[in-house]
């Protein structure tokens, strides 16, 4: 079945005419019909449009188009419900957007289309990307493909579940504090959060503008590298995108990591870490050493302050970013006699509990008299955290950590305790604060039940090439990525 292939495998077959884009797309749709009734990764799929895109790709292939020029020609990829796709619903997992459809394509979507990809489906997520389990979706709870009673992680839980369930060849998510890497770890796929500014945010509905990045969730490191090459680069519509050329991330995936220096932060291998996770990560580190990497202990002294700083900065930005959902111009409107009442009713009905909690928190930390104590101080802490990483990268080429302190937990297990939920991002959040790149890849399973464990590699600003190279070498020397859930 083409839907079970990696991108590299599928494009080879498409090129050889062994399989058509139409067949690839239809195999994905069949798979979704069969498994997504229970997994619930997709919020909606425009099947006619998907098939039409596939037919257009086949037509192009017949007219001599090739994968050198269009590396994703005929490859079905699915998209988190927070990225704007022209004429498709854009709900961000929230009721507040009502029947809104985006009138424009995000820059990454434009790039994917140029590269020939079939862009389809709206993937479930925590409302406005606020959450670590996808339980905060206003529409449905996505299940972990490895265990239907467990969460897929979040907020890009739909994206990770869809990739692991072979509903698509790859998917796109957004990562503000770990929202790509953590679900990738919990579902067992590769998830890459690029350096802040590497990928345009134009068309990504903002949660926390200074932390958000779009990135791929893929079946292999090579696929993730290819996808980043397609979506990366400067965009004049995003002033925060970095005007640096995009390297061919796939070119140096040669398995050679001899001589590379890896840092193991002592602050990360501490209490709260599940023994199974700890064991798998230690084994992975040993494997990396066997491959020729040198591993040294490093220190990231301000790690303890990351979660606090994150929940001040992210919520402050969110309180402004989400102000536009007011019922005046688009989306849900609950009518009233005056604007204030209309705002209150619309937002009261449209936003879920976690979103309201973060808006209120963000409004509070920016309030007159509190700004200096909270927002300003958090920004200073953020600078220290970034400095921690820059200091560490003076000594090492990449940092190795667990992605998440535990494997996937049960649906509903942490719903009543937001702080416990926030701690799920303890290892991923710092990378967003520091603006550096990071990825998660499978490094084993817990024993009973069998649940995926993720290894996180953190790299320097614009150091994606290095972490992809290390991740690829590790992946090729293990077989974790080949294991599939029994769906």
């Amino acid at each position: 079945m083409p839907n079970r292939l990696t991108i590299s495998e599928l494009t080879a077959k498409l090129g050889q005419r062994e399989v058509s884009a139409r067949e690839a797309m239809e195999s994905c749709l069949r798979r979704i019909h069969r498994t997504d009734r229970t997994i619930k990764a997709f919020l909606s799929i425009d099947e006619n449009d998907s098939v039409a895109q596939a037919d257009a790709a086949d037509e192009a292939l017949r007219h001599g188009a090739n994968h050198q020029e269009q590396p994703l020609l005929g490859v079905p990829v699915a998209v988190k419900d927070v990225i704007a796709v022209r004429n498709q619903p854009l709900n961000c997992g929230s009721k507040v957007l009502g029947h809104f459809r985006s009138p424009y394509d995000a820059t990454v979507i434009e790039k994917l289309r140029t590269a020939g990809a079939i862009v389809f489906g709206r993937l479930n997520m925590d409302e406005f990307a606020m959450g670590s389990s996808t339980e905060n979706s206003a529409f449905q709870v996505t299940q972990n493909p490895w265990d239907p009673s467990r969460i897929p992680g979040g907020s890009s839980g739909g994206s990770a579940a869809a990739v692991v369930a072979d509903d698509c060849l790859a998917a796109f998510g957004s990562d503000t504090g770990g929202s790509i890497r953590q679900p990738a770890a919990l579902c067992g796929c590769v998830g890459l959060k690029p350096t802040y500014g590497r990928v345009s945010r134009y068309g990504l509905v903002a949660y926390a503008s200074s932390l958000d990045q779009i990135g791929p969730l893929a079946k292999t490191v090579r696929d993730a590298a290819l996808l980043l090459r397609v979506i990366g680069g400067h965009d004049r519509r995003d002033s925060t995108s970095i005007p640096e050329p995009v390297p061919d991330y796939t070119a140096r995936l040669d398995g050679q990591i001899k001589g590379l220096k890896l840092g193991l932060p002592k602050e990360y291998m501490v209490g709260g870490l599940d023994p199974g996770v700890s064991q798998a990560v230690r084994a992975a580190v040993e494997q990396l050493q066997k491959l020729g990497a040198e591993v040294v202990e490093i220190s990231l002294p301000h790690t303890d302050y990351a979660i606090a700083a994150y929940y001040i900065i992210a919520t402050a930005e969110a309180s402004a970013n989400l102000a536009r959902f007011d019922g005046i111009r688009y989306g849900l409107r609950v009518d009233a006699n005056d604007p204030i009442e209309l705002y209150c009713r619309t937002r009261g009905a449209g936003f879920g509990t976690e979103v309201k909690r973060r808006i209120i928190l963000g409004t509070y930390v920016l309030s007159s008299g509190y700004y200096d104590a909270y927002y300003l101080r958090a920004q200073k802490v953020r600078t220290l955290i970034r400095q921690d990483f820059l200091n560490a990268f003076e000594k090492v080429d990449a940092i190795v950590t667990p992605t998440s302190p535990t494997a996937a937990f049960k649906i509903g297990e942490k719903s009543d305790d937001p702080l416990q939920m926030y701690l799920m991002d303890i290892f991923t959040i710092s990378a967003n604060l520091a603006g550096i790149c990071g990825l998660s890849l499978p490094c084993g399973f817990t024993k009973n039940p069998k649940l995926p464990i993720g290894l996180q590699l953190l790299g320097k600003p614009l150091g994606e090439e290095t972490i992809l190279r290390i991740a690829h070498a590790y992946e090729q020397s293990t077989s974790w990525h080949k294991e599939k859930p029994g769906l």
Partner: protein, 484 residues
């Protein structure tokens, strides 16, 4: 007890750019509602702002024109508040690092030059416009995202009239500098007022009252003319004023309370994370510096000084920039610039108005005006003939000197020829000549007219007068001379 008034003004000016502040939509007034809009200026989910560089240039240029200090970087902040005309429910503005700090405006007031200091000028975005109908309301977002400059004055203003003159002077500078068209009717300039009163001699400022909703400079003046006595009255009656925002009701000509200090917004400013601070390069600043123009007041003073023009002429050339430039180009080589100014203001300007001709369309070149002035000043043609010559020169472009020669319009200044005409006139009108001799001074004018007629208008009028007087036995020094 005498009171004094302290006024500060916050003036909002729409910048003259082709496109809006964060997107490519046209910055144009008067289009049908919601036709100059896109995902960015409508604040749709997922969009990002990109700063309009011309707006940044105009902001820096304003700072230079207003003698301010240009900030080494343009940094933006979000100002949070909910209002239906605001697409994002936050306004992108500059909070703690305005593009220009300090500066001043000098202007003519009460017979002298007054200086009002400025606090800051910063760049922000305009909002949409609400319309209220019988059963519903609508918002037009064409204006949303238009670049808007806010110029904040120090509380240096002391009266309604002074505020009015300051605003006019500021407007003149911004129009001259190409910053804004400042068309009040199109809402390109809006102004909020902060006003307080205090007993004379008291150092501490009175309660600051902000007035909003004036839609013209005269509205600002009238609002202050209402508000200042109101405040004084309250204090005189032993009342107390508290900080508040009041709304000017233009139709009723009163201010009314909008909100008190307790109801004041907390705007929760924080740095705009979607925009990197813009750091202008040396070349960029140099390019802006090259766009600095002479300020209107300086221009007026220079015209008065360099060309010895009266204030009224200098005022004309200050206001009508191109006409002034034309004058200057012409007057540089003139012996008597005032005469050139007269020709340009009284004749050329009028003629251009009548015929709807612009300076670019003139058929003659500035040297022709100089030539005409020279012809009059040397006595070669009379002022009256000169008017005709100008008319023809305006129509055909022919050089005045050539025209005078071709048509034989030169004044006759040859005494023997004039004497002949005078003898003829006296001989033909013996009674009039006798009247004059008998002391009837006005009789000379008749004889002069006869001489002019005989000479076909070309006799030099002052010579005619002299010769007639001599022949009739009187001379010009007797104090009863009629010649001008």
């Amino acid at each position: 007890m005498d009171f004094e008034t302290v006024i500060g003004l916050e003036t909002h000016v729409q910048l003259k750019t082709k496109s809006k502040m964060w997107c490519g939509c046209a910055n144009e007034f008067g289009a049908p509602p919601n036709t100059h809009v896109c995902p960015v200026c409508l604040g749709l989910p997922g969009v990002l702002p990109v700063a309009n560089e011309e707006a940044l240039r105009l902001t820096a240029l304003t700072g230079l024109l207003l003698n301010g200090t240009i900030s080494p970087q343009a940094k933006f902040d979000r100002k949070n508040y909910f209002y239906p005309d605001m697409p994002k429910n936050y306004q992108i503005t500059q909070y703690d690092r305005p593009s220009s700090v300090g500066g001043y405006v000098d202007f003519e007031f009460a017979g002298g030059i007054t200086r009002v200091r400025l606090t800051r000028s910063h760049l922000e975005e305009d909002v949409g416009k609400n319309f209220h109908f019988e059963r519903h309301s609508g918002v037009d977002f064409n204006r949303a995202g238009v670049p808007l400059l806010e110029i904040v004055s120090e509380p240096d203003l002391k009266s309604a009239d002074m505020a009015y003159e300051y605003l006019n002077a500021l407007k003149e500078i911004l129009i001259h500098g190409g910053i804004s068209d400042c068309d009040m009717e199109k809402g390109m300039v809006r102004c909020d007022v902060n006003v307080s009163v205090r007993p004379k001699g008291v150092q501490e400022l009175g309660a600051k009252i902000e007035i909003k909703n004036m839609n013209s400079f005269s509205g600002v003046r009238r609002a202050l003319e209402y508000e200042i006595p109101r405040q004084i009255e309250v204090l005189r009656n032993g009342g107390k004023l508290t900080q508040e925002t009041r709304r000017w009701d233009d139709a009723a000509s009163v201010t009314e309370s909008m909100r008190t200090k307790e109801m004041a917004h907390d705007y929760r400013y924080f740095p705009e994370p979607d925009l990197m601070p813009f750091v202008p390069s040396k070349d960029w600043l140099e390019e802006v510096r090259r766009r600095v123009v002479e300020l209107p007041l300086a221009r007026k003073q220079r015209f008065m000084h360099d060309y010895q023009l009266p204030a009224s002429d200098a005022e004309t050339f200050k206001n009508e920039i191109r006409l002034g430039d034309y004058f200057e180009a012409t007057a540089k080589q003139a012996k008597h610039p005032k005469a050139v100014a007269n020709w340009i203001i009284n004749n050329l300007r009028a003629k251009m108005g009548e015929t709807l001709t612009s300076l670019d369309e003139l058929k003659f070149n500035p040297a022709s005006i100089l030539e005409l002035v020279e012809l009059v000043e040397s006595g070669k043609i009379s002022t009256k003939i000169a008017q005709d010559v100008f008319g023809e020169m305006f129509a055909s472009g022919e050089r005045p000197g050539a025209m005078v020669d071709r048509k034989g319009l030169a004044q006759v200044s040859d005494t023997s020829a004039i004497e002949k005409f005078c003898d003829e006139a006296i001989a033909g009108n013996p009674k009039v000549a006798d009247d004059y001799r008998a002391g009837k001074a006005a009789a000379l004018n008749f004889l002069k007219g006869q001489v002019m007629k005989l000479s076909k208008g070309k006799a030099n009028p002052s010579l005619v007068g002299e010769i007639l007087e001599r022949k009739l036995g009187r001379n010009s020094s007797n104090g009863k001379s009629v010649h001008r």
